[in-house]
């Protein structure tokens, strides 16, 4: 959405026309596909005027957000006016107005933004980077980006325009900070000095893997592949990212005891599924149990490659020393 050229007061919304008779109802006046009365209502509710945002601009913003997200409905579903209104009313309208007014470069909005979010933003950046200096640097760089110093096709682009108002504005800022921090780490991580690059070592010849180990590896891969996304998310967070139960519980909004129980039950189910897969592969129950007792170091299984589609290492792994190998079956207690 590019509304940087819009100025307040360019478009005066026509007042709703009262229905003269029920026999010949007048169509509801609409702007950008939304009823004008709804826009007026939401504009007043958002106090967008205090941010220097006109009702027209706010209506365009609402229409853009609604169209982008299909008013909260699954793709392919056509929303009715009531669903549209309900979705728009569920947004954080005042924060949405502030963000988009800042994206338009309104001074009053920026003053308000700085007054409200300056300190929390620096605090969040410090918490993300773990350093006050890096936190200030990160926050300052985000300010520059949010203010729209970057131009595309001669127009100022601000990431603030992508804020939809579904979550809190501070949460959006915090997530954007985290993204920038990851991007910065990834970019600087690639700038490794050449001195540290050793000569290529000869590729070790892979030893022949026994049929039983191959069968076990296939069973593990098949079992993990059949897991539900949420189960894979739990396993990946706990065993790959080494997140704590508290972190996981904060992410999925359940109690950490629930996370612990679910993980315990998940590991037990994995073992059952592994046994079943091994037995379906031709092993007896006793042989399957013996196969599960195989030293994990003998199995060439990369659980990371099985648990996640993206083959890039996690951010936490990349911050670890170079000598730390990617977790395999030997190190992951699955």
């Amino acid at each position: 959405m590019d509304t940087a050229s819009s100025q307040p007061g360019d478009l005066v919304l026509p007042k709703p026309i009262a229905q003269e008779s029920t026999a010949n109802p007048q169509p509801t006046p609409r702007f950008s596909g939304l009823p004008l009365s709804l826009i007026q209502e939401l504009w007043l509710a958002a106090e967008a005027e205090t941010c220097g945002l006109t009702a027209e601009e706010f209506g365009m913003t609402l229409a853009s957000v609604g169209a982008k997200l299909n008013y909260g409905l699954p793709p392919g579903t056509l929303p009715d006016p009531a669903q549209e209104a309900a979705f728009l009313r569920s947004l954080r309208l005042s924060e949405l107005a502030l963000a988009h007014s800042c994206a338009l470069g309104r001074e009053v909005a920026w003053q308000r933004f700085l007054g409200l979010y300056r300190a929390p933003l620096v605090q969040a950046a410090t918490a993300i980077t773990g350093s006050a200096t890096l936190g200030h640097d990160l926050a300052d760089s985000l300010y520059a980006e949010l203010y729209g110093l970057r131009e595309l096709d001669g127009q100022r682009r601000s990431p603030l325009a992508s804020y939809s108002g579904r979550g809190s504005f501070l949460g959006w800022l915090r997530t954007t900070l985290a993204q920038r921090h990851v991007d910065h780490h990834r970019r600087t991580h690639r700038e490794a000095p050449l001195d540290n690059v050793d000569a290529l070592a000869p590729i070790p010849t892979p030893e022949p893997i026994s049929a039983e180990l191959t069968r076990l590896a296939d069973a593990v891969a098949h079992t993990l592949h059949d897991l539900a996304p949420e189960d894979r998310f739990l396993l990946a967070c706990y065993f790959l990212d080494r997140q704590t139960l508290l972190q996981i519980s904060q992410t999925i909004r359940v109690h950490e005891a629930t996370v612990s129980r679910r993980l315990k039950r998940l590991v037990a189910d994995l073992r059952k599924h592994l046994l079943r897969n091994l037995q379906s592969g031709g092993l007896s129950k006793r042989a399957a149990e013996e196969a599960l007792g195989t030293d994990p170091r003998d199995i060439e299984i990369n659980l990371r490659s099985l648990l996640q589609i993206s083959q890039t290492a996690s951010f936490s792994d990349r911050t670890a020393p170079e000598t730390a190998p990617a977790p395999t079956a030997a190190s992951d207690p699955l």
Binding site: P74, L116, A178, R180, D241, S310
Partner: protein, 469 residues
Amino acid sequence: MSELPQSGRHPDADQLSAFIEHALPEHEYQLALAHLADCPECRTIVSLSLPSVDESPVLQASAARRSLFSGWKFSGWNLAWPAAAAATFAALAVSFVVHIHNTATARGSSGTAAQMAESHAPAPPAATERSPIAPTANGAQSKDAHPLQGRNGLSQLRPVPSKPSAGTGAAKPQSPLAQTADQLQQNPSRASNTFMAGQPASEATAPPAIVGGISQTVEVRNDATPPAVLSPIAQHPLPSHLPALSMVSYAQRILAIDTRNTLFFSDDAGNHWKTIPSPWEGRAVKVELASSTIPSVLSPAAATNKLRPASSFGAVGGLLRSSARATSSTLTGTVKDPAGAVIPGASVVVSNSTTMGGGPVKTDSAGRYVVNDLSPGSYQVEVQAPGFEKRQIAVTLTASQQNLADFTLSVGQLAQTVSVEAPASASSPVARKKTAEPPPASEPLTRFEITTDTGERWTSTDGQTWMHR
């Protein structure tokens, strides 16, 4: 830096932040979850985006508060109001408890006063205590209903005098007094000395403060300061139905002066009284115990134990009792007949010349008796059994020793006195039989003493015949 956050197939910051806050619709939440399960980068971003503990969850409120308390941090601010509320509540609770406590004390309820008095032993010595009461000429209670408050920190221990009846001016007996009377009757060996003076008949009298069951004497001047007279025997109804001005007890004998300066004597712990004619001129205002003759064979500890005027049991009474208990002796023995057979049920009374306490105890089926908690000193042990002659011996007990004294009672023989001396080094006493030896001097070591308003002092050993001193 990427042009847009995590463009491509990664969810953008809006989606991730909405995912963290569970603001996504269900279908989009599942998509995001499926992506996060496979994407370590996005999981990392989500993990980093979780709000830290020290961040304020309510931005608007925090900004408004910072404008007022700019120097406060969120964490401290969050704790400030609960801490202030807790401190205020605690202060209110303490003040309420103190108020209730003072109110209960001011009411002078007997139960509360007795409990307080019992729980705050020992009290200061009576000789040094001068507690005013608020008397008025017409017997009305003073406006200062609690004059003892704020003195020596003991004000709350003392009951407020009950309002006297208009007709007689006699104070009603208080529960602490009744309790003391019971103690006195149960343990008549306890002596008490109480002095109440300078109070007209119509004046209110203060109930006594009971400290460890021992009465405390408070000397009261006949001046503007009201007397706080604390008498354990004041509950004994005197024949005149007037409050006791001064009262003293020794064993079962009680000598009392009422507010009309009439002297009464009781030899059965206050059950029966008789009026003693006063040979002195003027009015008796004070009765007390006096002792001038203490046998030289007694140790100071024994002398202390023998003579127990209440005035000596003020602040140090408890210490003396505990000290006596630590050095107490035990007397045991067997009572037999001339044939050597044990005599069960024989009565053994251990007493010295003053306390007359220690027994009687009965011998058991083996003819044995045990008398505990005897202070070191000389005692008379008297044994008698039906059909046998009474036998009396003198023993000298040492501290922390178990002294042995066996008796052989005979029928129809004259009384014999056996002196048993137990040296400190001996494990068992050595008895020397002294036939027909008279008992040690039975001169009363304690006598009553009366002080009149003219300054005369009269003494009496039995409380009935008085001699000018």
